[in-house]
């Protein structure tokens, strides 16, 4: 071993892939972790379907889409932060932060896995609610629908990256997220258009990329959907723009948060 030998430092791609691989290994070691993120959506989907019963055929689409989205949210958004919470519990957050790789790449790798498992969870929930309802929703353009479905997931992933910083920041992030879980579901209109919410709350809802993406998806899936009055194209543009903003600020947020935890010395607390 020769000190001073050439340092490779880190490779963003390799670190991201390493984190993705670690997530897969941990999932394989204990696949039951997919279940918690699916329970609430399945139940919420069925309950909503029951409440929508008799309201019209397209309301089934609301229930199914809402449930699928909630599952993907659970896995992608919550899962990304939760994995950092686990790092705290295992005591692995310190050695990971101490490594030359900026933590944001580790989170990115995990988010990539959560996108895959979120899609899996979303499809399972989708299937369960469809089975309960007895018939699949009528979708005018299934291909576009599928593309938008994945796109919604990507917007969630972008929020997930930023939310994960919160878990580095404080050991209480999980509790705060639990308290805010319904507020997030309501605020982003996962089961209903946000136009049903008080007008003053709409700007806050529009800060989240999934709000836009989900609205675009409903435009595609539900004929005659009014939603946000500016239409499908602007929804799509809004989703892309807010996602880009989230991804752009993610690096800065992580840098700041990493610095903050080194200042406070709270990294090892769990």
């Amino acid at each position: 071993m020769r000190p001073g030998a050439k340092r490779t430092g880190f490779s963003a791609r390799r670190s991201t892939l390493a984190a993705l691989r670690l997530s897969v290994l941990q999932f394989m070691a204990d696949p039951q972790w997919l279940v918690p993120s699916m329970i609430a959506p399945v139940i919420f989907g069925i309950v909503s379907f029951e409440l929508f019963r008799g309201a019209g055929r397209y309301y089934l689409t609301y229930a199914i889409l809402g449930a699928g989205m909630m599952s993907m949210w659970g896995q992608t958004l919550y899962g990304s932060g939760w994995a950092t919470g686990q790092d705290r519990n295992f005591g692995t957050l310190e050695p990971t932060i101490q490594a030359p790789t900026p933590y944001v790449y580790v989170v990115l790798g995990r988010v990539l896995w959560n996108v895959v498992s979120g899609l899996l969870g979303g499809l399972i929930v989708f299937g369960v609610v469809v089975a309960f309802a007895g018939s699949p929703p009528t979708v005018p353009n299934p291909l576009l629908f599928a593309v938008l479905f994945v796109f919604v997931l990507l917007t969630l992933a972008a929020v997930g990256v930023v939310f994960a910083a919160f878990y580095v920041y404080t050991r209480y992030a999980g509790f705060i997220q639990n308290i805010g879980e319904f507020a997030f579901y309501v605020g982003t209109g996962c089961m209903f258009p946000i136009v049903l919410l008080p007008f003053w709350s709409n700007p806050a809802s529009l800060l989240f990329p999934p709000t836009w993406a989900l609205d675009a998806l409903r435009f595609e899936a539900i004929p005659g959907y009014a939603g946000l009055s500016w239409g499908f194209g602007w929804d799509l543009l809004g989703a892309v723009a807010t996602t880009a903003i989230y991804l752009a600020i993610a690096g800065a947020v992580f840098h700041r948060v990493e610095r903050h935890v080194l200042e406070t010395g709270h990294l090892s607390e769990y």
Partner: protein
């Protein structure tokens, strides 16, 4: 030096666990998080289902849904948090020390339910106030005592149910899955958002096995009619559900304590 085999009294073990155990569970006793659970969660959960009602054109259903969800929030501290204390003990590595202690198991486990009962009572009370203030529910002042009694009984029964699940979690690697199932299953099976009678019969039977179903029926009955013979029967049903839950919890903790010691799962999380 030994204490010659002396054991702490039942009351002392009960009190120690009542006060100490929740504090060890991260965030459980942080006053701001308790306030968040009590004040934020009921409102957002009720708003969610009220908006679903609104979208489905069922505005006349909103008060019914709001009361159901106000009561259903009892599960956050009574079921989920109680269940999760087992996980925390395992994570911190304190579970083994707890089980090797000579402490009376009934006092140890039941003591853990005291604070969750108080938080549950607060959460449901705040939820019912929200239901009346924002969602059009009418709770006649003359019926308040009957409602309070029903809420108290329901909180007791649900904490017993939470302890029961905590016993199972002792054996499992984690209680999160179990906690999550029973955190939300009541929304479907207990008449929270629509009457239990709307469910297929097998699901109705399942619903009747959850104390929340009886508790919610009692609270709805107390709100609409005050103290009536029907309410006495419902109170009896909730009391029976509570007794069964606590008794089964104690039995299960013993059984799963043995199983966990046999399999070595006690130290894994």
């Amino acid at each position: 030096m030994t204490e010659n085999g002396t054991r702490a009294s039942f009351l002392r073990t009960f009190w120690t666990n009542a006060v100490f155990a929740p504090r060890t569970s991260l965030g459980f006793m942080r006053i701001d998080f308790v306030l968040g659970t009590v004040f934020v969660v009921p409102l957002t959960q009720m708003a969610f289902f009220a908006l679903v009602d609104q979208l489905g054109g069922m505005t006349n259903q909103i008060a019914f849904t709001a009361i159901g969800n106000a009561v259903a929030t009892v599960t956050y501290s009574s079921v989920f948090s109680v269940c999760q204390t087992t996980d925390h003990e395992k994570e911190y590595g304190t579970m083994e020390h707890l089980l090797v202690s000579p402490a009376n198991r009934a006092a140890l486990y039941v003591g853990r339910g005291l604070i969750p009962i108080l938080i549950s009572l607060a959460t449901v009370t705040v939820g019912l106030v929200y239901a009346a203030l924002f969602f059009g529910a009418v709770i006649p002042p003359a019926h308040l005592l009957a409602v309070a009694a029903s809420v108290t009984l329901t909180a007791f029964a649900m904490v017993g149910f939470g302890l029961l699940l905590g016993g199972v979690a002792l054996y499992l690697r984690t209680s999160i899955i179990l906690g999550n199932i029973f955190l939300f299953v009541g929304l479907l099976l207990s008449g929270v958002n629509f009457p239990v009678s709307a469910l297929p019969v097998p699901l109705q039977v399942l619903g009747e096995a959850i104390p929340l179903t009886w508790g919610l029926a009692a609270i709805r009955s107390a709100i609409t009619g005050g103290v009536t013979p029907a309410l006495w029967w419902l109170w009896a049903a909730v009391a029976v559900a509570a007794a069964i839950s606590f008794a089964a919890a104690l039995g299960l903790w013993k059984v799963f304590e043995r199983r966990a010691l046999a399999t070595g799962s006690i130290a894994r999380f």
